[in-house]
Symmetry: C2
Subunit: 218 residues, 2 copies
DNA sequence: CCAATAATTGACCAATTGTTTTAGAATAGA
DNA sequence: TCTATTCTAAAACAATTGGTCAATTATTGG
């Protein structure tokens, strides 16, 4: 992958004499799909965290042998870094699509929070919670770089919230005196709180918490 | 300890013929203070979590040899359980004292949250965060019993919040239509959120989040 | 002093950890 | 076909993991 990317860069940037360079490269081709393998890793890290996931766990889930994993990703941590980055891209793309497409972004925003108290959603995702939040808590005292990566993810979510709130304000759904940046951060904190509270309250009990939390928007 | 407790129970409940039973018992006495040792363990679990703390880490911090640790606590998990219980008792005692003693419990409650954005507090505790919240996140998918223990701790905090809010309501500081139970849970969620948000924002940036979060109380 | 009990010590343990190595297999380009 | 390159497979690795054990030491009560 890196090799091909490297070639792509050269392909585009080099002078015309090199245009004929192939995008592929000599050598045995990969027998697995990197994106797919990272998705499996993602799932494990999401459910169990980094420390509680062993390399053997990863190998089994990704369908790889040690050689392939270490050749491609360098280390267990390397898998974690790439899986986390991939999750970030996927999650943010989906979130942006949900919040930017509807005609009423404020309503979609509220529904996004309310969905966290939906029992069906609860069964599927609540056990895992927020990938960023989990990683941030686990890595905070162990790996500053990973902590930063997780924090970056959440700040990107903040940005999406901010854009939705700005849009709502321009549409007159939000008081002109409201501060969309401050509200976005407040909502991130509500989000983060629910990542923990979900594990101690029933979906039923989460509803009033969410409604009280969203009160500041109306 | 268990032995002495057992003797204490017998001492109190048995018929007078057994009153002479000593509270101590034959055998070599413990050379370390259990409460103190658990405090050291607590500190480690708090900072690094359970998985990232090895038995060797524990032995070094607690000043014990393997034999003593396993004789007294049974397992690494046993240390975790007891350290967590001890933390719960200590933390809740301190919190109750802070909230129940002042003449203005609502004000103390707000100050408790504002303290989370105090840089000096940040340096000391923010890196570790909330023991209950951290444990809840880590144990949620690994150890249901420990998850329950951590959740219990947070629900006890909820109860302390509830009592402060009820008191404030009776004193007329809170609208009669307010629901102290719902507000207490909302505040627990604010608390839980800050346990994660603290790791991505500066203390400066936490302030408006906290103030917005406390807005529902006025 | 003796028997019973309990705590400490240090050696020992099997299993698992993340990682490396070495040999071979599969491809592209010359 | 030869060479360079990349990927895979399997074995081997040292280190660390959480935990056990037998022998010894310290205490209480009779």
């Amino acid at each position: 992958m890196d090799i091909i990317l490297d070639r792509m860069v050269k392909y585009i940037t080099f002078d015309p004499s090199n245009v004929k360079t192939s995008l592929t490269v000599a050598g045995r081709p990969k027998e697995f799909d990197e994106v797919d393998a990272l998705s499996r890793a993602q799932e494990l890290f999401w459910r169990q965290g980094y420390g509680a996931t062993s390399t053997e766990d990863l190998l089994a889930a990704m369908g790889l042998r040690k050689g392939s994993l270490y050749h491609t990703f360098g280390s267990k941590r390397g898998v974690f870094v790439q899986a986390t980055k991939q999750f970030g891209h996927e999650f943010l793309r989906a979130l942006r699509q949900a919040l930017q497409q509807g005609s009423d972004p404020l309503e979609v925003l509220c529904q996004t929070f309310r969905a966290l108290a939906d029992p069906s959603h609860a069964a599927a995702v609540a056990a895992k919670g927020c990938y960023f939040g989990n990683t941030l808590v686990e890595m905070a005292t162990l790996d500053p770089e990973m902590q930063h990566l997780a924090a970056q993810g959440l700040m990107a979510v903040e940005q999406v919230f901010y854009e939705a709130l700005s849009q709502a304000q321009q549409a007159g759904q939000l008081s002109q005196s409201a501060d969309p940046r401050a509200l976005a951060r407040y909502l991130i904190n509500l989000w983060n709180g629910l990542n923990i509270s979900r594990r101690m309250y029933t979906p039923q009990d989460l509803i009033p918490i969410i409604e009280t939390g969203l009160q500041v928007l109306v």
